[in-house]
């Protein structure tokens, strides 16, 4: 009975500690994004500005996704594991915010949060920003799980992941007929849905290439790059296959504004193709066909 009660108290302690980390995130976010002061340090009314709600909660969800990869190792003493947890969580928060900053500088370099979210309530912009936050969170979570607490390897693999993700975001122009920047300025939902799903799909594919056995950093990085190139080869097959099997027809004329249904169709096809690609790149085990002597 004593040990059950003791364990319960330790879990409550770690729960409070995690909430403390959430509090630290607020200040870290403000440090990197001073324009977000209103969003974080005053009372927040979700119904007042739905675009702002989407923007904020996507960041918090992203934080939650990143932190879900942490653990408290009771092989050490309670305070040592709490200290280690606080160090890794602080590092991951900073990495998460820096990643979002980098990706938004690459993708949304023409736009500003205050202009698009606060003044214009641009849902399309909020969708893209939310998708970027969640994508970056999934990638950081995967890298953290694979590196298992090794800080140097974590930083190096995070850089590699960011490079791959940055390249993949630029492929949207090749794959979609929608003019991203023009439609985003016009607050068109179709581009938000399409690009958001595309970016999420890319992050799932990148996560799948990271899930493999780690022996040495050099070999692991080479295998990641090979699998990423393989994903680029396999992806068009699934995209064409989905169009062919379900006889999907492009019914949008470039002279009109696209409906949100068109954006949903494009986004869903991208996302589905990425999910199937991650199956081929990450879940084919060659076992007895290519055994080891």
């Amino acid at each position: 009975m004593n040990d059950m009660l003791d364990r319960l108290i330790i879990r409550v302690f770690f729960t409070l500690f995690t909430i403390l980390v959430l509090y630290a995130y607020k200040y870290a976010h403000y440090f990197l994004y001073p324009s977000a002061k209103k969003q974080l340090f005053r009372k927040f009314y979700p119904s007042a500005n739905s675009a702002d709600s989407l923007h904020l909660f996507s960041r918090l969800l992203g934080l939650g996704i990143v932190m879900s990869s942490f653990s408290f190792d009771q092989a050490e003493k309670v305070f040592t594991s709490a200290l280690f947890f606080s160090f890794t969580s602080l590092l991951c928060i900073i990495i998460f915010l820096v990643s979002i900053y980098i990706m938004e500088s690459i993708v949304l370099y023409n736009f500003e949060y205050s202009g698009e979210i606060i003044k214009k309530q641009n849902y399309s912009y909020a969708l893209v920003s939310a998708a970027l936050s969640l994508s970056v969170a999934f990638i950081i979570r995967t890298v953290n799980i694979q590196t298992q607490g090794n800080v140097v390897v974590f930083l190096l693999l995070w850089l590699l992941a960011m490079v791959l993700f940055g390249f993949s975001t630029k492929l949207y122009k090749l794959l979609s007929k929608l003019n991203f920047y023009q439609l985003l300025i016009q607050k068109n939902l179709a581009v938000g849905l399409s690009y958001g799903a595309f970016v999420l799909g890319c992050s799932f594919t990148i996560c799948s290439v990271f899930y493999q056995e780690y022996d040495s950093l050099e070999n692991y990085s080479l295998q990641i790059i090979l699998k990423a190139i393989l994903a680029a080869i396999v992806f068009p097959f699934f995209r064409l296959g989905i169009h062919f099997v379900y006889e999907l027809k492009n019914d949008w004329q470039e002279s009109e504004l696209p409906e949100w249904g068109y954006g949903l169709y494009e986004g869903a096809v991208f996302f589905l193709a990425c999910l199937f690609t991650s199956l081929i790149t990450g879940h084919v085990y060659f076992g007895t066909i290519y055994p080891v002597f």
Partner: protein, 240 residues
């Protein structure tokens, strides 16, 4: 056209990188035929290469591998995996456990498939000698100091008789493979099957794959049924 060009470039890049840094190609040498053994294996004589295992991998495009055991009295035993050509693989499918290459003390090389240990049986130098058995048969045995070679060569307690030795000499000169007086060596030989079991176990498992799967599932189903029957019988007895 631009997209197609980019796509083909990505495919070529992928194939090129895989060829360059893929794990299978990084470390294994390629042996097209027995003629190149002398070039790749520069061990000092006497030295023999025993074919321990043979494997093919791949589903649509096959690759073939041999595993050789490098045996010599003055070197540690070693095993090496090499990639071989399809023709060479098929040619040696019956030669598991045989010596495919020998370098004698006078630096003479021979690639006729013969039982392992031939490089010592036919050697003029002193690695063993002839003895008379109680049965009246004359057999060749390793000297005490070289007896560890029995295990390394995979011949265990086998001792060649004089008839065996004569046949061995004849086959080496004629260039025909020799599997022993009673075909003890090679893929169909008892001695090779006992001492190099990995190849034969794998072949047996492959041929009985479906049978083993069915057996496994069937056995599980039978065990579950018997457990249920036991349970029902126990509850019947309790009620009685």
């Amino acid at each position: 056209m631009n997209k197609i060009g980019v796509y083909f470039f990505i495919i070529i890049l992928y194939l090129g990188l895989t060829r360059g840094v893929g794990p299978n190609t990084m470390h294994s040498i390629f042996i097209p035929s027995e003629a190149v053994f002398g070039n790749y294996f520069n061990e000092s004589p006497p030295f023999t290469l025993v074919l321990v295992d043979a494997f093919s991998s791949g589903l649509f495009i096959k690759s073939y591998y041999h595993k050789y055991r490098l045996v010599g009295p003055f070197r540690p035993m070693d095993e090496v995996v090499v990639r071989v050509s399809s023709a060479f693989y098929q040619k040696n499918i019956l030669n598991i456990g045989m010596s495919l290459f020998r370098r004698y003390d006078n630096n003479e090389e021979n690639t006729v498939p013969l039982p392992p240990g031939t490089v010592f049986f036919l050697n003029k130098a002193y690695y063993g000698g002839w003895r008379w058995e109680d049965s009246g048969e004359k057999v060749w045995r390793f000297s005490r100091v070289y007896r560890f070679l029995n295990k390394q060569l995979g011949i265990q307690s086998f001792s060649p008789t004089y008839d065996f030795y004569k046949q061995l000499e004849h086959h080496q000169v004629s260039g025909k493979p020799y599997y022993g007086l009673r075909s003890e060596f090679g893929s169909n030989g008892r001695i090779s099957q006992n001492n190099f079991p990995s190849f034969f176990t794998r072949k047996r498992d492959e041929s009985s794959f479906f049978k083993s799967v069915l057996n496994k599932d069937f056995k599980l189903a039978v065990i579950k049924k018997r457990k249920l029957e036991k349970k029902q019988w126990k509850s019947f007895l309790l009620h009685e």
